[in-house]
Symmetry: C2
Subunit: 274 residues, 2 copies
Amino acid sequence: MTNRTVFFISDQTGVTAETLGHSLLTQFDAQEFRQLTVPFVDSIDKAKQAVDEVNAKAASEELKPLVFSTLVQDDVREVVRNDCECLVIDFFDAFLGPLEQELGVQSSHTSGRAHGMADLQSYDQRIDATNFAMANDDGVNTQHYDKADVILLGVSRSGKTPTCLYLALNYGVYAANYPLSEEELEAAAVPKALLHHRTKLYGLTIAPERLAEIRKERRAVGRYASPQQVSFEVRAAEALFKRHGIPYVDTTRFSIEEIASTILNVTGVERRLR
Amino acid sequence: MTNRTVFFISDQTGVTAETLGHSLLTQFDAQEFRQLTVPFVDSIDKAKQAVDEVNAKAASEELKPLVFSTLVQDDVREVVRNDCECLVIDFFDAFLGPLEQELGVQSSHTSGRAHGMADLQSYDQRIDATNFAMANDDGVNTQHYDKADVILLGVSRSGKTPTCLYLALNYGVYAANYPLSEEELEAAAVPKALLHHRTKLYGLTIAPERLAEIRKERRAVGRYASPQQVSFEVRAAEALFKRHGIPYVDTTRFSIEEIASTILNVTGVERRLR
């Protein structure tokens, strides 16, 4: 299949243009796209360079490129919109007008706001939450659970660590995690270190076949990834969650974004970043 | 100031709707918004519940709410668009039409694609990269640098760890980091463990005043956060980067997104996720 080139042009990092562009492109899943990000386009000169890049592809490739842009300065956006020889979807262009009308004010039309000019407090919050997630990973520390917003519980490789880090980095949420040991699974009791934090517990589970695959990558031989062992652990963990009324989610078909969002939604834990 | 309530309504996690809404709202920075995410709205019934929530705010609050939505199913979107008593900005509504026309195909109009239905390979990639970042944090391991895409270099608390984790979680990039010790700073030589990986090095620096603040949070007393010490370390690190032609970025006014994006942009390291 012939690939179509997609450009994400931004006066910032390109994160927003990519996120929005991906959402749209996933609706066209039979197509293949080659994706290029052109960040920090914040002057007319840089806009012209970006347009040259786009038009070179338009001239040399069979399929016309697509441009997704997030450009807030009117003059910069004009250049991209008018001079690209292909479809340009600018996210600000479409929505700032209706919003200005509804809010009854002009927008600032200045770049450098979306992610940055580092809101220092928010930066500190993310860093602190990330340090907390690192320091309280895998049950190594249990004495700081008072500070935790949520404590994830699950068997080894059920997705606890990346979910905690994602919650910290993206939402400034303090997330610890605790791996259920074989003894704890057999006892089917809430581990002692967690007894005072029952309301913060949230379980992760996963289909045994999937878990066996993941564990095999890590340690191919021995009991760790064996079907019997994996199946015992998963069943015991789910039984423990049910018995003690601990809410839990099956991560098998979920992305990290979805797991994190589900946890916030179910627990009502407040995001510290917006 | 009176707050206006903003709803992010999504048939998925709400991440895309929030990204879109935040980008737009930052253009109206004199306004205050109270933000509510309503995720997993994937049926007409759930859409009606969400509309009820919106209209309750419309009736009880002084300022009309705003709705940002990412709803791909036509019937679900119709409910939200037609029944909310306020401005509804639906992302797919605006852009799917022009894209269908340009690509010459109908979009799938099915939810559950944007972040999930877990592309398993991509999930594995993120997890593996995250494990790599954790295992190769803070110079604890130097024997796996062959596998690294990039090795961040900098003084303590210059932002190395969160940047590595962000690169892993969001781009599937293998990022290690190495803290420059006082001896290494004094010697102004590339640390021995890094000599074979010169092309992978990328430096982080930060304004001394800002670094002193950050360090004070961590350890208020002693030399660690003192102006002299911090200033010596930062100057020595920058001199080392310059002397050995190591590209670097000043993280002082940057968000983690911006630092990560800058690194990918400058080094040309390929993202493994899209």
